[in-house]
């Protein structure tokens, strides 16, 4: 862990009463990078963000944000956050809200720049209640960056945005990165996480089960989806090719595997013709699903099927 870490988290545990939500996280975030946190609902994402923002106090472990305690006045001055919020004051205009939030910081970003970065110039005199869903998101984004923060938390930034607005938002996030700011992103759009993040953290049941760049994650997993026409049923196929877990539906066999060559060699050796063969790389979304599914599966019934094994290697 270097001194230049923007965020450093050591042995972080958190529980609500008896319910452990985070179970020992260790990571550090560097300046000028975009980090994506992915996880199913209840994985601990929101709790983690609230801890990093200082809205919650950790049950155990240490969190340092920009060399200060999370949530301290010093940290607050250099951190911006875009939260999912119901409403800002309905009859204050975009400009009024931004001027107000800018006044909270000692050296804020000029309001005109925040307006430009969030593409709100044309709407500066519109009251909040008259903004569309996407424009409201952009105003919340503008408020997150108005303090000219070193570290920006974005929770579902492009929710309710159309394709153009989303592209614009991505552009701005990349711009923040080139200015040396650190961005922490939580999102449900896998595409967004993949497009923006330098590094992804996949959280499941309070633990980081995978970490790496989007391409690393899909590559290391090397999960390919293989399917072909097959007259055998599931158990017959599983006896023939026991290393993989098969799904047979309407004469089509499918599985996910690390090494399709091995699989196909054995299939041919066993006399399967593999008509209508299709082999394609697993997308990040599928990687994510298989990782979290496996982790859940492992927690309940420890088995040793092939896909479990590969995910375990990855998680280790």
């Amino acid at each position: 862990m270097t001194n230049s870490a923007v965020v450093s988290v050591k042995n972080l545990h958190h529980s609500y009463g008896n319910k452990a939500v985070l179970k020992g996280l260790d990571f550090s975030l560097q300046a000028g990078r975009v980090y994506g946190f992915l996880g199913a609902n209840g994985a601990g994402k929101t709790t983690l963000i609230n801890l990093l923002l200082g809205r919650l106090k950790a049950s155990q472990g240490r969190i340092e944000v920009l060399s200060s305690t999370a949530g301290s006045a010093a940290a607050k001055a250099k951190v911006g956050a875009m939260l999912q919020i119901g409403s800002l004051p309905a009859n204050l205009t975009v400009l009024e809200q931004l001027n107000l939030f800018a006044s909270y910081y000692e050296s804020p970003m000029p309001v005109s720049k925040a307006l430009r970065l969030s593409d709100l110039n044309a709407h500066e005199n519109t009251p909040f209640s008259k903004l569309s869903g996407g424009l409201k998101q952009r105003l919340l984004f503008a408020i997150a960056i108005i303090g000219d923060p070193q570290l920006v938390f974005l929770d579902e930034p492009s929710l309710a945005m159309d394709v153009n607005a989303r592209q614009q938002m991505w552009q701005t996030i990349r711009q923040l990165k080139t200015q040396g700011k650190t961005v922490v992103l939580t999102t449900h759009y896998m595409e967004e996480a993949e497009a923006l993040s330098d590094e992804l953290f996949i959280l499941n049941e309070g633990k980081i089960i995978a970490q790496g760049s989007p391409s690393e994650l899909s590559h290391n997993m090397q999960l390919s989806e293989v399917s072909f026409a097959c007259e055998l049923n599931e158990s017959e196929l599983s006896t023939l090719l026991p290393e993989w877990s098969w799904q047979v539906n309407e004469g089509k066999a499918a599985t996910r595997c690390k090494s399709p060559n091995t699989l196909l060699k054995q299939a041919f050796a066993n006399g399967l013709s593999c008509d209508l063969l299709s082999v394609k790389p697993s997308s990040l979304e599928q990687t994510f699903i298989s990782l979290t599914e496996t982790a859940e599966h492992e927690n309940k019934t420890p088995t040793n099927s092939a896909s479990d094994k590969s995910a375990k290697e990855q998680a280790a």
Partner: protein, 245 residues
Amino acid sequence: MSSISLYSLKQEAWCDSKSVFRNLGFVIPTLAFPCAFYLFFGVAMGDEKTSSYLLINYIIFGVMGPALFNFGVNVATDREQGLLALKQLSPMPASQYLMGKTFTALLFSTLIFILLSSFAVLFAGVSMSLLKWGQVYALALLGTLPFCMLGLVMGLSFSAKSAPALVNLIYLPISMLSGLWLPITMFPEALQWFAWILPSYHLSQLGLSILEMHQGFNLVWHLLGVALFTLPCGYLATKKYNSMK
């Protein structure tokens, strides 16, 4: 507590006031209610003495409303909508948010004082020295504070949906039981003693003492009564606000 910049405090106060005053559905009833009551009971139906007596009481009644509502209902809304969370993430100290809201309540109190006093002078022939007018205005400002604190406790405790009903549930009975509508001396003795826990009763007595119409207790007791209500509410509100995160 980090320091508050004067510029930021001004922004906060103006933004809160603009936000509230642009909501005419709130402003008009809040101002019209005490005005209508005063014009009907205090001006149309009474002599000059009644008009002066009720002027004090309806000013107190008038300043209670916006203080209770801007804190009780609007704080509950800000809290539920997440605006408060967003403000807490910024370096802005909590007290600034509260001062902004207090400023709005004081603006309302000023308007109530100007409106009711004008009616009193123009239509009911009420007259008093400039010093006494000054004292009545000071009382209107002072009288805003206990209700800001009470409203704040409510705003931090109840949901945005239940807050308006609960504020009304407190606002109207308190006004009645403090003797703002009917002279307190007409009440049974037990109720007269009950009024001692209500800040509006003490404010009313303080105001009436300016016109030498109060019940005659030493004014120190009334000042103490206001303080003993305001300070614990303020303490409770601070505790609730800090544990909110």
